[in-house]
Amino acid sequence: MVQQKNKWGYVLKVIIGLTILSFFISLFIGNDFKSLDGNVALIEITGVIVAEKNSDFLFADVTYPDEIRKLIKKADENDNIKAIVFKINSPGGSAVASEEIADEIKKINKTTVAWIREAGASGAYWIASSTDHIIANRMSITGSIGVIASYLGFSGFLAEHNVTYERLVAGELKDIGSPLKDMTAKEKALFEKSLTQIHDYFIEEVAKNRNLKEKDVKKVATGLFYLGAEAKKLGLVDELGSRDEVIDYIETQIGEEVNIVEYKKEKGFLGSLSGVMNENSFFIGRGIGSSLFTKARLADSVSIST
């Protein structure tokens, strides 16, 4: 057997040799796998758009700005990624969250495409409008440029059951929007003024993003949803089609063959279960309004959804 002194000399040689070999291999495959990464990132915007993920949405498929921001950042910082596709299947949601995501998309210095699947309505359309190009199926549900904050009033029910609402407020309008009392005409007017204001922002942003005249957007911004084919005629969508059209458009923009890589949301076990449960929870135009509003009412604050 080898002498003790020589042993450590040989050990050192092997260690140095393997270190150098590992560095070379890591450099080689590092570059190699980067090229396998793909050159087009696909980010999904699905479910209801909410400002933050919290326990209310434990079982719901939701999209929230922080998550999308991280995915966008990762794709934007990757030099191999030449374009980003936003695969949208959402009925909309929080106005704030929608604008935040739209603003993030506008910051991207790469080709961006919105690919509307089943639905890209309301807040989700706001997001789609911030991309360079919108592609939708002729039967996709899109548009729905409107704002909603409707809620169920319980004052009649409470009166019927001899329950009274003891109003204790400092500030005349502190309990505006409380479902436990009837809304006064003044309160209603104030509320509608805020909704109109948000509606105007929505219209303004869509017009700016789509290079349309505000008056033209205003005409279609009744809150009504449009099928893809109709939306194309109205200028709300650029092209009708599906995955192939998305790929064709990007190839003409970046001048190379498209290799899509999915940048997916982190989905836990509960998230996987939720996909089945939440599919039919929301309807066009309602967005997350009703759900958020249940909580908001109790806190005497108002939540508005697009």
Partner: protein
């Protein structure tokens, strides 16, 4: 150990202590971490997003098949470099740094250690099926064999012994 008759001033090779073997293996893993895994850290960081927990990383990998396939290839490559570490050292010295510190040696049932034997005794390091089964089977077999041999050692016709000086 009871069967060994010790003579003064001599060295004897006998069954190695399981604890010493475990500590020696951990020392080798620490060295491997520094010389083999460290250079690949940057590659992994570029492919896997920084997450708060292992489960989130797992979620990312299970939802991103492209990355997970690439990572599997890299992990197998690392496993072969690790096996190379054991093979190069055990072929020449019958020892690794961890084993040197505890006077442990790898012995062949045949005349000398051959490369195929060294590969087979280290193949539990390949993190793909069916080799991963050895992570459970190897230590279990070790506990129930007379000379504390792992299954990989039995298959490779090798054993790990400890040198005693008297």
């Amino acid at each position: 150990m009871n069967n060994i008759s010790l003579k003064k001033g001599k060295t004897f090779l006998a069954q190695a202590s399981v604890l010493k073997r475990l500590i020696a293996f951990i020392i080798d893993l620490l060295i491997i971490n520094m010389i083999i895994l460290f250079p690949f850290k940057k590659v992994f960081n570029g492919m896997v997003p920084q997450t708060e927990s292992f489960s989130k990383t797992f979620d990312f990998l299970s939802s991103n098949t492209g990355s997970s396939a690439a990572i599997t290839v890299i992990v197998i490559l690392i496993a072969f470099l690790t096996i190379l570490y054991f093979m190069l050292l055990e072929k020449k010295l019958n020892q690794t740094p961890g084993k040197i510190l505890f006077n442990l040696y790898v012995e062949s049932h045949e005349k000398e250690l051959k490369y195929w034997q060294l590969f087979v005794r280290s193949m539990f390091l390949i993190p793909v099926f069916p080799f991963v089964l050895l992570w459970i089977i190897d230590p279990l077999v070790m506990l129930f064999t007379k000379e504390n041999q792992r299954l990989s050692e039995i298959l490779s016709r090798t054993k790990t012994v400890e040198k005693y000086k008297v």
